[in-house]
Symmetry: C2
Subunit: 693 residues, 2 copies
């Protein structure tokens, strides 16, 4: 419960001073300038008054209750101040002071110490090395932060791991005339966490959209849990730094955190229904659309314009962003043809031409409201100097207020027509400078609509069909060890979870070969199996495509001879060919479910990196979507008239596989490589399990 | 020579009126408001005075010389007005009036008529259906355009096929405080062409960068020629609409032009050294960087920041945009360590921390000037309220004026520190709101640096080695026909240009098989060859991997029997395998050199569309670069320890191939599919030539 942080009844400022360049002064000034609704208590043993406010020598000397304390004194004095705060019954301490975890071992010790002190008193630490918080709720109006962007009420809440990025986000919202609801840049996250803050924003009625800037997820599982809940109520827009390996390194040096793969963030966002953005500006512009517009029920957009060129740019961007151009219903076309000028183009985009007045432009938009083929509207409007532009804007404003469909708008205009922008924005329609921004924002809303329609995924365990006990018994034989499992055990584990693999027989003696081959059917593959031989193929321990018993016996002799010192076992398998090679893999993650990989085999994985990652577990829909997402999907569907592979079989393997890795946390890495997918089945040809004790 | 258009000594306005919503009125007002340096002559037979100016009943009634006329009267009256203008000796007529080519056949006739009238008098038409021109040169200051963005002097010139897009570009430059040099939105391009305008901008000393918005290239060869020349002097930044097939359709319906592939535009831009952008905003922001900064000598950027998070975003964006992070020299590191605070991070990014003052921040930038490992600087600067921000800006401004290296800057600030932005911008350093914009703009400058260093490509014909006469004789046998050439002729043509192909022998009689097979060596391929059999493989006319003479004779019999009615010839070829499959293709283009395609065979071309297109001819460097540009390039280089293919052999084939298609315009389509590339050679296995009479 972060109420005393975001809605404090009173704030004390330890480190307040009359020096206008001090953090304490700046925070105090921000509180005053934004008309904080509770008392402000500057704390400074050296001053009697600060900025005309009575100053106190310590927090405990303050005669009234203190909810929140802002601390910006030297790092080594922080513990003593916190003891004092604790005794006073302070609820939250925002520690602006730096010089903790981010500077190394010594700082980390100090950081742990201050959290301990706080918890001893039931107090919470926000930071250290943090910027602070803001809440524009007129009943609170708290700006406990040393930054400079003025705060006005709005309904976008921001949480930013980097204060500099947070400030940039606030700044651009301010520039486009939008306020914020709450703001938070939490620094080292020693106690109050980003996940708690997002959860809190999620519960705040007035927050319509959440923007998050993330450098590293301290608690990825917690984030997944919180974000999955929140995104069912309101969108979370996220920007994740460290997209490139150089960026990842910079994050690690900035936050002192572990190096983290960007693919993990993608998988978490995907699973949680978080909308990821790749630039700050795109995120802000999309957030602007979410604040007042309904969520599109589908991806069919209609573009209305009074200038041709920018609408074409809008078309390109809508399509590139995954939207579709709506096909106007015949009835709509008839209505429009009655309405617009002769030169107008009644198609999509609808070009009402520059000479269109309020009746033509506004009437067109209104007519499109009724077309069931249209899910959303993108308007392009240049204030042509020869028409009644304010009239058009007034009409659009009226329509915007009651529109059953989401509308975004590019307006091409200048100061003298600012009233045009005001009138449109006032109705809740977001106004953009560029068609690209309007299209991308609409696409983000459409993506969110799809997330809402999907709802919370329900994971169905294949209970009866998966013999968890059997797999557990096999894995139990190796418990506590770090190793690759022997091949036959791997196949037994696959078998226990109903994952189909090529016909396989363990061979110890030469005499077992003939009956085994008979059972399997030629051609066969002979493989050596010994713990010491990890790279079987490279060391000559695999013989493919053996066509008859004579050849098999002879190959067996050769292998026995070759690997005599290892006293190996052998495996005989059916030699399968002509299927499509697929790779399925899993890697355990620290602090969160394992990541499942899917891709086409060979160069597609190794060179083209055409793979998809998702967090376990998987629903059937998610497994299907995952396969669809690789670029080489059409290869699985069949090119040049060949039949496609058995997708149901692959889905089944994916789900059983993800369940298996989830059931046994000792599985560190697990690869099915390759899986061969045929027209009416799919089988694992080779598999590898690495366990970690 | 477009001087009388962009630097008119006098302007007449046909259609001028006192109605403030008329185009004529608006153009006149724009000329007046921007203080045009010559006389303005309103023409309107119904008014004696317009806006206090004496009005004339016709252009010929004007007592002085008239360079330029703006016409905004009804389309059907335009011819008569032009006759009058011609007789008067007018040099250019800007026809704003719509209702020409863009409305269909009737309009096209009218459009042709007005050009004829103009040319009869040595007059030129600009438009019709055009917005107009502007030139901010203080000695001219002409705003002969009906748009609304105020004009101020600058050194970016704009040419925009869409007036709406052109206005958006002007508008955003205006918003970020940049002026323009010249502006032009040319409408239907009936006479004065975009290429002429770009050429004119290229010759204008004060134009430092050109921005072009293109929907369709009316004269692609002309564009290539002009742009190739201009980009050696100044950058051309281009935005091309119609990136998606939906966008292409919208362009076609907007401009009435043919449907055009986006790949052709890419190939033309690549060849001409034009920088393509994918959003209006990115193009404008890059243009801002080009106006005052030197071109980077290389791709190694150093980032300096006083706030961590935004710098990480800059890292990600720089890397994603193809830049590299510079490795600071040991000497630079020593210098910086003396200079900055202890908490600062002396690495790349250099984080001088938020408490850095002018000495630390400015000193750091100055120290980096001398580091030979650094080609460019990207600064991130937040105006921390507790330091002397104006002092830092002043220092950066001083450094910017004399910087030997290009600098771009993100400033995170607000109104009260606008002086900070002013000081930095004044020095020529572009200031951006977002790190992403700074990084992308720097990347564009770096790309342009590489274009300049490459210089004008020199195409060397493989003269002695290519027997043009022989190829010409073969093609001459089919002159005037539309058809696929017979297989043996295709191979003879390859031979004449020194393009290696698998050993091939024409077979008419059974008796020729044995000696031919002996010459070639088994295994061989037998193919049927008859004009009527186009899909040889599908109809059973190809037998691969024939291993001995008995099999060959038997397959021959079968094929003779099968195709008896066609009385076919046959081809015997060496059966090659295990090479890497490559496809090389060519397609004739209307109005420009043929496009050459390169890609990996099979699914890489068909499903993953991993192909590159370039215009013929190719230099060796261009051929190498083209191969490098496919995503599957590492496959050709060799994966998993295998050796790479013979790139020299592929380059040689590409160059001979492009020369061949260029030498013979009757070749409509030409495919080498597949070419097999081996470790030490590459050979064409199959080829197809389609000619068009």
């Amino acid at each position: 419960m972060l109420d005393a942080l975001f809605k404090p009844k009173s704030v004390a400022i330890v480190g307040a001073s009359n020096n206008p360049f001090s953090i304490g002064h700046i925070v105090m000034q921000n509180l005053i300038d934004h008309d904080f609704k509770g008392p402000i208590f500057p704390v400074n043993p050296k001053s009697k008054y600060i900025k005309s406010f009575k100053a106190y020598p310590s927090v405990s000397a303050i005669p009234d209750e203190v909810d929140l304390v802002n601390i910006s004194i030297k790092n080594t004095i922080v513990p003593a101040v916190l003891e004092d705060c604790g005794q006073k019954g302070v609820k939250f301490a925002i520690v602006h002071t730096a010089g903790f975890k981010e500077v190394g071992e010594e700082g980390l010790v100090l950081e742990k110490q201050i959290v301990e002190i706080a918890h001893k008193y039931g107090m919470r630490i926000y930071g250290p090395n943090s910027q602070g918080i803001q809440n524009s709720d007129p009943e609170v109006s708290v700006y406990a932060n040393f930054t400079f962007v003025p705060m006005s009420p709005g309904n976008i809440s921001i949480v930013a791991q980097s204060g500099g990025v947070g400030e940039t986000l606030k700044l651009h919202l301010y520039r486009i005339g939008l306020g914020i609801r709450m703001y938070s840049s939490f620094g080292n996250e020693a106690d109050v966490s980003m996940n708690e803050i997002i959860d809190y924003y999620g519960q705040d009625e007035e927050t319509k959209a959440i923007m998050a800037h993330i450098e590293t997820l301290k608690d990825p599982a917690g984030f997944l849990e919180v974000a999955s809940r929140v995104t069912q109520k309101k969108p979370i827009l996220a920007l994740k730094s460290g997209k490139t390996s150089e960026g990842v390194k910079a994050v690690a040096s900035h936050t002192g955190s572990m190096i983290e793969q960007d693919t993990l963030a993608d998988a978490i966002f995907e699973k949680a229904g978080v909308l990821r953005f790749h630039t700050q500006e795109e995120m802000i512009e999309a957030a602007a659309a979410f604040t007042n517009q309904p969520v599109p029920p589908g991806d069919r957009v209609c573009i209305v314009t009074n200038t041709g060129g920018p609408a074409i740019i809008a078309v390109d961007e809508c399509i590139a962003a995954g939207l579709n151009l709506a096909e106007l219903s015949p009835q709509t076309k008839d209505t429009l043809k009655q309405l617009v000028f002769q030169e107008a183009i009644v198609s999509n985009p609808v070009d009402v031409v520059a000479t269109a007045g309020p009746e033509q432009y506004g009437g067109t938009v209104e007519a499109l409201f009724d077309d069931p083929n249209i899910d959303s509207l993108l308007l392009v409007f240049v204030t042509a100097p020869f028409v009644d532009c304010e009239g058009i804007a007034r009409k659009l404003g009226e329509l915007g207020k009651t529109s059953p469909k989401p509308i975004v708008c590019q307006v091409i205009t200048i100061e003298k027509w600012q009233e045009v922008i005001r009138l449109i924005r006032e109705s809740g329609i977001p106004v953009y400078d560029f068609a690209e921004a309007a299209a991308k924002s609409l696409s983000a809303m459409t993506r969110y609509g799809a997330i809402l329609r999907k709802g919370t995924p329900i994971y169905v365990e294949k209970k009866g069909e998966c013999d968890k006990d059997k797999a557990g018994r096999i894995l139990g034989n190796f418990s506590g060890k770090d190793m690759f499992l022997p091949q036959p055990d791997v196949f037994d584990i696959l078998d226990s979870y109903g994952i189909p693999f090529v016909k396989t027989v363990k061979i110890k003696e030469k005499s077992e070969l003939e009956p085994a081959a008979e059972k399997i059917g030629f051609p066969v593959v002979l493989k050596v199996d010994a713990k010491e031989i990890v790279h079987k193929t490279d060391s000559g321990g695999v013989k493919l495509n053996i066509k008859d018993i004579t050849a098999l016996l002879s190959e067996f002799e050769k292998m026995v001879e070759k690997f005599r010192v290892h006293k190996p076992n052998f495996i005989l398998q059916k030699y399968e060919k002509d299927g499509k090679e697929v790779i399925i893999g899993a890697k355990k993650q620290s602090g969160i479910e394992p990541m499942i990989m899917f891709g086409l085999g060979g160069v597609f994985v190794e060179t083209l990196k055409d793979v998809q990652f998702r967090l376990a577990p998987l629903t059937e829909d998610q497994a299907v979507e995952m396969m669809h997402s690789i670029k080489g999907y059409p290869i699985l569907e069949g090119t040049r008239g060949e039949k496609g592979v058995d997708f149901n079989a692959l889905v089944d393997i994916l789900i059983r596989f993800s369940q298996l890795v989830l059931d046994f946390p000792e599985i560190d890495e697990f690869d099915l490589n390759p899986v061969l997918a045929f027209e009416n089945r799919a089988v694992v040809v080779d598999a590898r399990i690495k366990i970690k004790g």
